[in-house]
């Protein structure tokens, strides 16, 4: 046991010999977590798509359209003069621009000549979302007029109007009634969040916190391979040959030490999540501990196996960063797994990052407890067992 502690302590000293390690240990993970959470804001921030509106008509109808857009959950209208809005759009500082032409009025709507121009940036996902929101606003505003027009048509079919004035009066009365019915219209759809044990609310910042935690902890654990390469090239591994130290003792010392450092790193990031981002990481500390340790053991064991294949420290460092980033991306740590095609969602289950992320989200988003994360922890420990076995089998001091 003493040997294991001694090896672990020696590796910690090597790793933190340079102050620059703190950059990767805590500074960059915190910056990334914060910025990516800023990209998916929560709380009181308005994360709706910015929709530039150039209202050249300034009629009652155009005001109604803008008012409807303001109530949208998808877009946030920002009224600007046409020249300024056009300039911002041309410089791609906004995804969508709605131009309300000068002739846009109730009369043009009645005449069937009302139209709006929506300009969208190509290759931009916000465009179709904004288009849907504008169509919804149009539908709401024009539905009363459509209803009044239909009422006039039906009435005329039953008994023709004596004059245009009578038809117009009928239209106006119908419009008033339709508008009243619309205002009194009840909600027909209710959304209920999935029933988690203590009704934890979805917080997109949790995705960022969990994803970045895994990314920044897995990369240095994969870099255990660099420790092996460093010691092998320095000749210190060969010296161990002359001591009564078994391979498994040495590997346990290396992995144990790095896993312990990783757990400290994770606790700092979890603390940041709780203190700064107000995330609900602390509701079941035992479950959190299980998933964190299982994740770290899996990544550490993979780093060990990598270390038995890689020859130089430089290669190990590059491959660790690359493998860590690719696995984080594919495991849903950067972008939610739900955005991936179904086949890819299934395929990425071969990655430990997918299971680590799933376990973290069980805790942070689904309000899960110890029993909920046991399957993910089990799979992660399976990864650890397999790769540790391969590592011990392939490990050579020289």
């Amino acid at each position: 046991m003493k040997k294991i502690f001694a090896i672990a302590w020696k590796d910690a000293i090597i790793r933190f010999a340079s102050k620059a390690e703190l950059l990767y240990f805590v500074i960059l993970p915190v910056v990334f977590t914060f910025l990516l959470a800023g990209g998916t804001p929560s709380g009181d921030e308005d994360n709706r798509i910015r929709l530039l509106v150039a209202d050249q008509a300034r009629t009652e109808l155009s005001v109604q359209i803008i008012a409807q857009l303001s109530e949208s959950t998808a877009v946030r209208p920002e009224a600007l003069p046409l020249a300024e809005a056009g300039s911002q759009f041309d410089e791609r500082r906004a995804s969508v621009l709605l131009v309300i032409p000068a002739d846009f009025s109730l009369q043009s709507l009645q005449d069937g000549a009302a139209s709006l121009d929506l300009r969208m940036q190509p290759n931009d996902l916000n465009g179709p979302v904004a288009q849907r929101a504008v169509q919804t606003a149009i539908r709401r505003v024009s539905s009363a007029v459509n209803a009044a027009n239909t009422a006039v048509t039906e009435a005329e079919a039953a008994r023709p109007f004596a004059s245009d004035a009578e038809r117009q009066a009928y239209f106006d009365q119908s419009l008033g009634l339709a508008a009243r019915l619309q205002a009194e219209s009840p909600e027909r759809v209710t959304a209920v969040q999935g029933s988690t044990p203590d009704q934890v609310e979805y917080d997109p910042a949790a995705n960022s916190s969990a994803g970045q935690l895994i990314t920044w902890v897995f990369i240095p654990l994969f870099a255990i391979s660099a420790l092996f390469a460093y010691e092998r090239n320095e000749g210190t591994l060969r010296r161990l040959l002359t001591t009564p130290t078994r391979k498994s003792t040495y590997l346990l010392g290396v992995i144990g030490g790095q896993v312990a450092v990783a757990v400290v790193q994770m606790l700092i990031l979890v603390g940041f999540g709780i203190a700064v981002m107000k995330l609900n990481w602390g509701r079941d500390p035992a479950a959190l501990a299980v998933i964190l340790v299982a994740s770290a053991l899996a990544a550490g064991a993979i780093g060990t196996t990598m270390g038995t294949f890689i020859k130089t420290e430089g290669q190990a460092s590059g491959l660790s960063i690359m493998a860590g980033m690719v696995m984080a991306l594919m495991g849903g740590c950067w972008y939610p797994l739900e955005l991936f095609p179904q086949a890819v969602q299934t395929a990425v289950k071969v990655l430990p990052t997918t299971w680590a992320m799933q376990g973290m989200l069980d805790l942070a988003l689904r309000g899960g407890g110890l029993t909920d994360v046991l399957p993910e922890a089990g799979v992660l420990l399976g990864f650890a067992a397999v790769f540790f076995t391969v590592g011990v089998w392939r490990f050579r001091y020289e």
Binding site: Q121, P122, I138, R139, A155, Q173, P186, R188, G318, M322
Partner: protein, 419 residues
């Protein structure tokens, strides 16, 4: 000039012989771009968005409108977006969501149709039937998919409500003006509903003319954004790697040897800068070529691409030289360079679109070659030419020149290039 070129080409060869460096120069951006292609569905024929959202629907209404909503989810229009499962038991459907087996459950209660179809009593001014609400039971860990399902149900409900208001308005007005007897209202309303359903007309009374900035349809190719983002991020690694070689040569003694040869300090420094520049340009051209070849990615006007690559590499080289000037050892350059690569990557929009980042970050992103480079590559991908690259090219050139000047001043102060 020959000496400059020789030193530059020597560094280019050294960089491409270093397998460890090649991992981060070429392999990592290529694999990440490949991964992004897979996760976004770019390689499986998808348009880069969500597809096959698992949805459970329970239709307890069993009448006209409940069936219509089921038909909406079964329609060809939604066949790629949604994978529908019909169930009979609301509790079983909810359980599927709680167990993360589906993104949302749609529960259409009994009496939904009856609560919407206006009765004779309602036409006569009586109380409206109590609204019966469709429930969308959403999976909290799949908010985007659940949001899409909710939007589809909302749109359906909105159309149903429009129909109800249209029918109520027309029939009520006819009763008020004596065109229709109150006892005939319900039948007339139903007949009108059927008529409108058969010929729904244009739908919206206001035409919405849509067009993209380039006048084309809004086809989304996620790789057109992500591939340049990854290439530019790892370009920062390459330029700091090149800078590291300057300090490494100094500590290994090859730099002083160069300086005692009939080669001026400016030539040596210029040659090193040229080596970084060549390596960075070669890296970007290889990545662009590979993504064009393997992913059929269209980068746009070749002249524009060449100009932009050279300008982006020039600006990134400036950063590489500045990092080298500030750092004391090759290891410090490596650490600082990798950190700046990642920070510029996220600030410059390589991970998520700049628009999604806080405004202050968007402002600071202007100091990164990544943001200007991405701006330029996006401009080209939209079908524009070299003539439209004025701003990014100017910004990148100024950035490179300013950084290079500062680096030279720091080099001189620290005496790095002294014999």
């Amino acid at each position: 000039m020959t000496k400059l070129l020789l030193i530059g080409l020597k560094d280019l060869k050294l960089a491409f012989r270093d397998r460890a460096a090649l991992i981060l120069m070429l392999l990592a951006p290529f694999l990440l771009t490949l991964g992004l292609g897979f996760v976004t569905g770019r390689f499986s024929g998808g348009s880069g968005g969500i597809s096959e959202i698992p949805v459970v629907i329970v239709n307890l209404d069993g009448e006209q409108l409940g069936d219509a909503l089921v038909d909406v989810f079964k329609s060809d229009d939604l066949s790629e977006l949604v994978t529908l499962t019909e169930a009979d038991d609301p509790e079983a459907a909810r359980r599927l969501i709680d167990e993360d087996e589906a993104a949302a459950a749609i529960l259409i209660p009994e009496g939904f149709t009856q609560s919407i179809m206006p009765s004779a009593e309602q036409f006569a001014g009586g109380n409206a039937a109590d609204p019966v609400k469709i429930e969308v039971y959403a999976n909290p860990s799949r908010p985007t998919s659940a949001g899409i399902v909710k939007a589809i149900v909302d749109e359906f409900a909105s159309r149903v409500e429009e129909g109800r208001i249209t029918g109520m308005t027309a029939v009520t007005q006819m009763i008020v003006t004596g065109r229709l007897a109150p006892q005939d209202a319900e039948a007339a309303g139903q007949a009108m509903g059927e008529r409108l359903a058969e010929s729904p007309g244009t739908g919206l009374g206001i035409a919405l003319n849509t067009n993209t900035a380039s006048g084309e349809t809004n086809d989304f190719d996620v790789l057109a954004y992500m591939a340049p983002g990854m290439a530019l991020m790892f370009l920062m690694f390459t330029t700091s790697y090149g800078g590291r070689s300057l300090l490494a040569e100094r500590s290994q003694g090859t730099l002083p040897r160069l300086l005692v040869s009939p080669t001026s300090t400016a030539q040596v420094l210029g040659g090193k800068v040229m080596g970084i520049f060549f390596t960075g340009a070669a890296q970007l051209f290889i990545l662009i070529g590979a993504s064009t070849l393997f992913f059929q990615l269209k980068w746009g006007d070749p002249l524009g691409v060449i100009a932009l690559v050279l300008a982006a590499v020039f600006a990134a080289t400036g950063w590489g030289m500045l990092i080298t000037a500030i750092a004391r050892t090759p290891a410090q350059v490596g650490n600082l360079g990798s950190a700046i690569m990642l920070i510029f990557g996220i600030m410059g929009g390589s991970f998520i679109q700049l628009e999604a980042l806080p405004e202050v970050v968007q402002w600071f992103s202007k100091i990164t070659p990544n943001a200007w480079g991405l701006d330029g590559f996006t401009t080209l991908a939209l079908g524009n030419s070299l003539a439209h690259l004025g701003r990014p090219l100017l910004a990148l050139t100024i950035m490179g020149a300013v950084l290079f000047t500062i680096a030279v001043i720091v080099f001189n102060r620290k005496g790095i290039m002294q014999k």
